[in-house]
Symmetry: C2
Subunit: 408 residues, 2 copies
């Protein structure tokens, strides 16, 4: 009965060839029946009409499994890999997209489901690179002001250990990536073409530099062209992968505003950098700022205020004894920081708060206990030393107060 990860991967890649990413009907079918059965059904005409219509144009044109195998081989030669929801590396936050598109009839608004799979080039783990990430997007025809601001924000986010995610385009996108690289930080390019088809072509070198530490990501298999509508489909991934989206310069109809709208739909912070009212490249920014739920930000301080509200890992900066945790890698550090609560956390809650997959938490937490960072307490875990002492500076231990009156 059990289906291997390789077979799942192949089925998802094949489905991704049959339908454009984001297709809601296919996503729902895959959620219910699994990718292998959905692919089998499509190929043997056993599934419902809606799905067959979604895949219609490509059904029968070629053998999707053979094409998927060829794509996977090509990716391997390129040093790229496929990441699927069934694997460890999948960024869970992308699944938030499943709440979008219900009841919509316009395909552009309806077909915004989570990706079936992601093609990834680069050494970082995708889920870890995106765990603490911010999208910085904006105008291709950016002004020097916009380019300067995007670069500075990229630089300062990376300095603070935040991954900068963008679309690799001219102007704001590229400067955000470059700023992050200049700070020696991680940055992720989400392309609307295959990971071996840099777009714009002149950014091939930039993407190669990104892929040295960070990641180049796409929903489309290698060798896919960046058709116009794919940028709009792609934008939802940038919004969903990150803790929040910042727009730096946008003309009235900029695609960056669509990414911002997706962020709002996903209840992620939607942030905009203002500019001179005399600049056409800020018209879209200012119109957005006149809406509800869009926050004006002038720099990284404001951005971190917004994204810090979302997760636990922007807790007050650690002081004193817990500096040892600075030496931990990101998932371990997130687990330890998630323990900054007064009551013990069961393992599954701890994993959820830390944004770490449960199976990773099961693997990592015992080491944190033996390393003196965490301690078991009942059926859960607490910070070691106890949080009372850490937070109050020198309070009594939580389970044996020397002077109860001092607590009031």
């Amino acid at each position: 009965m059990s289906i291997g990860l390789a077979e799942i991967r192949l089925a998802r890649v094949a489905l991704g060839w049959l339908v454009e990413p984001g297709n809601r009907a296919v996503y729902q079918s895959v959620s219910r029946h699994g990718p292998v059965r959905v692919l089998d059904g499509l190929l043997s005409a056993g599934l419902d009409d809606r799905l067959r219509r979604a895949a219609g144009a490509r059904l029968g044109a070629a053998d999707p499994r053979a094409l998927a195998e060829a794509a996977l081989e090509r990716a391997e030669r390129l040093g790229a890999r496929v990441v699927v929801p069934e694997g460890d590396e999948w960024p869970r936050q992308l699944e938030d997209l499943r709440h979008l598109g219900a009841g919509e009839t316009d395909p552009l608004e309806r077909d915004v489901a989570p990706p079936l799979c992601l093609w990834v080039r680069g050494p970082s783990r995708l889920d870890e690179a995106l765990g603490r990430s911010v999208a910085v997007v904006g105008a291709r025809a950016a002004t020097p002001y916009g380019e300067h601001t995007a670069r500075l924000i990229g630089y300062e986010l990376a300095q603070r250990d935040w991954t900068v995610v963008s679309g690799g385009a001219f102007g704001v996108d590229a400067q955000a990536h470059r700023g992050a690289l200049a700070a020696g930080g991680l940055t992720v390019v989400v392309l609307a073409s295959g990971v071996d088809r840099p777009y714009p072509v002149s950014h091939a070198n930039l993407f190669d530099r990104v892929a040295e530490d960070g990641l180049v990501v796409s929903e489309w298999p290698p060798d896919t062209d960046p058709f116009r509508h794919r940028f709009l489909i792609r934008n939802r991934v940038i919004a969903a992968a990150t803790r929040g989206t910042v727009v730096v310069e946008a003309s009235a109809r900029s695609g960056a505003l669509q990414t911002l709208r997706r962020a709002r739909q996903l209840h992620r912070p939607a942030m905009v950098v203002p500019g001179p009212v005399t600049s056409a490249m800020s018209v879209g920014c200012h119109e957005s700022l006149r809406k509800e739920d869009v926050r004006l930000v002038t720099g990284v301080g404001h951005i971190l205020e917004e994204v810090g509200r979302v997760g636990a890992d922007l807790a007050p900066p650690p002081r004193g004894p817990e500096h040892a945790r600075d030496g931990l890698d990101p998932p371990r550090r997130r687990l330890v920081e998630a323990l900054l609560t007064r009551k013990p956390l069961p393992l599954d809650e701890l994993a959820a708060r830390a944004g770490v997959p449960l199976r990773d938490a099961m693997r990592l937490v015992p080491g944190l206990v033996s390393g003196g960072f965490a301690a078991e307490r009942g059926s859960g875990y607490v910070l070691a030393p106890p949080p009372d002492r850490l937070l109050a500076g020198a309070g009594p231990p939580a389970d044996g107060p020397a002077n109860p009156a001092a607590r009031s």
Copy 2:
């Protein structure tokens, strides 16, 4: 029993010399007992201690009535006049300030009562000039961007028949006045010194140009110096006199932000023009925009959207037969436009909606009826021709529909 306007004016001027403008205790006493009795009481030690303390420093130093007479004579020689609440020309909206300052202990926050009187230089009626007005204020050390934007906003407001009110300072204030003058519109300078004491001195020519059509206004008698704290006292008048306040460039601690805050306290639209995040002259603007109740505006279109919500005189632009009303002067036009409702308006409600003093409405409305602009209906007034016909284009008369079904 009845006290003449000249006596009232003298008493208010004398009280204004005894206490700084805005004093809440004096304002409340004057509201209750009238200015003449309050002055008598102060001079004869018959009033309560709180008032005597407010006037303490100056009581006994000179004869306030003699000083007031001298100031009035001096003003007359300058071509200036005193406007008091008991007279026709008083801008009623200033009385909204009486709601502010309750329960405050800091004098700067407590003593923000309406002015006792205003010294005015210029040919326009003060109430009419301020009836359709917007405050445009901002940094003295404005950048070329801020100066350009302030001037453009001043110009475009004046083009649309809005009075531009500001403080006459270097930078944004001066450019807003200049923009209004360039459009041939009305502008009002509210000074923190006597109307004969231009501050800054180099703006003496600017103020003279303003006073050719518009007004130079002050709460302080002629020859008063612009002490530092007087600018803050003055700001409440700019906010209260206008339909809304626009800030164009403001550093983090700009006085313009105080005017903005007063506008918010008065529930008037508080508007801010953004700028580059790299500019220190926009830091105060952006911080304000991150607060609630502050609207980002990029130009006059946005500004009129905001101030248009406040009064009736931004009703849909008149069409067809009512173009004749364009030939009316502002109070008459406001009265006619206030009639754009379906039910007859009693005279007092009509006056309130039009923002016209009741005694003026009593004087003006009969002429509007005989001129064919308005008609009596029961105990109120309606637009003539009837609003149904005007608004629907060619509907049946309100009181005798030819085809009732056509109304649904």
